[in-house]
């Protein structure tokens, strides 16, 4: 009972004051796509397409499991996609098609493809 009440009272982002591990002073240089993702967030905010609070709520709406398992910018890009779907700006189908196109283009430019990937593993 108490456990489910805690779930109701605290959404996944609301962790202030909870017990936690000692702090490890970790950091990493952003990967190129992570930096692009951060820049995309700023540009979406400038254009009033997705503001900072919508982004935060969008991450929260991913639910505790995804919040726990995805990395910081993975959560952001998935939240952006979901918010854009909900606002009717993109459709899941259009995104799936574009992702397949992006991947195929990379393969064409890099002589990859599934065969290439398999070959590299040999």
């Amino acid at each position: 009972m108490t456990e489910t009440q805690d779930l109701v009272k605290r959404l996944p982002n609301d962790i202030g004051g909870l017990p936690a591990e000692p702090i490890r002073q970790v950091d990493h240089a952003l990967e190129p796509w992570e930096k692009r993702c951060h820049a995309l967030a700023d540009v979406l905010d400038y254009h009033k397409i997705i503001n900072t609070e919508e982004k935060r709520c969008g991450v929260e709406a991913l639910g505790a499991e995804m919040i726990g398992k995805l990395t910081y910018y993975e959560r952001w890009i998935v939240a952006f996609a979901n918010i854009l779907f909900r606002k009717g700006i993109l459709t899941p189908e259009a995104l799936a098609r574009k992702m397949a196109e992006v991947e195929a283009r990379w393969d064409a430019e890099n002589g990859g493809g599934k065969e290439g990937a398999a070959h590299r593993q040999d």
Binding site: L30, W33, A39, M99
Partner: protein
């Protein structure tokens, strides 16, 4: 509980080659490219905007905040303006705010030590400090800073005397904080540039004091 994100931090503390040379882009990398290209195709964002924003992000680092702090240490009138309106005073020094955020500058004194956090996510005074370090965004700091700040500070090697109040400020999407650390003793003859070199990112988050002999390596 182990933060699943930690795997990310540990796995990626080395320099990265350009994607495309080192391997296939991952699922989320592809998703980012796809979302961005669709938005450009629909003319919702400009084709060049992401590149320009990356340049802007790259231009922001703790050296800017250090410049603000050093000026406040040597110029009492500026300090007063900074404490009254952080954003306006930073803009006075040519630091533009590229977002809608307000900046509240919190002054450390002999009786008060300030610490900043964002318990809900990762809000941070990015126009003056650049992007936050990973530990600022992870659960241990976000959870514990508000409930046991002295223990948190001790993990950064910072021991604040019991008679000094510790005040923790929790950032929001619209309001960001910057700590104005205490000027270290023995710096009376320092130039403004020498003072700025004492001001590291972590002194402006409030997890460590500014110290002589701990000069920041500013990019």
């Amino acid at each position: 509980m182990t933060q699943p994100n930690d795997r990310h931090d540990e796995a990626h503390d080395h320099a990265h080659e350009e994607i495309g040379r080192s391997g296939r882009p991952g699922y989320y990398d592809i998703m980012e490219t796809a979302v961005r290209e669709l938005l450009v195709e629909r003319q919702l964002i400009g084709a060049d905007e992401i590149r320009r924003q990356i340049e802007l992000l790259d231009s922001r680092n703790p050296a800017l905040g250090a410049k603000v702090v050093a000026r406040a240490w040597v110029d009492a009138a500026f300090r007063a303006r900074l404490l009254a309106d952080g954003r306006k005073a930073c803009e006075e020094l040519g630091i533009s705010f590229y977002d809608d955020t307000q900046l509240i500058v919190l002054e450390n004194t002999d009786k008060l030590h300030n610490l900043i956090v964002c318990t809900l996510c990762s809000c941070y005074p990015r126009p003056v400090l650049g992007l936050p370090p990973d530990w600022y965004k992870l659960k241990p700091y976000r959870s514990r800073a508000v409930s046991e700040p002295r223990a948190v500070l001790a993990e950064f090697g910072t021991v604040i005397p019991e008679d000094v109040e510790i005040r923790v400020s929790d950032s929001t999407a619209m309001v960001r904080y910057l700590v104005l650390p205490k000027r270290p003793d023995g710096t009376d003859d320092y130039s403004e540039e020498q003072l700025a070199a004492l001001v590291t990112r972590d002194t402006m988050i409030g997890v460590v004091p500014a110290r002589v002999g701990q000069e920041a390596v500013q990019p």
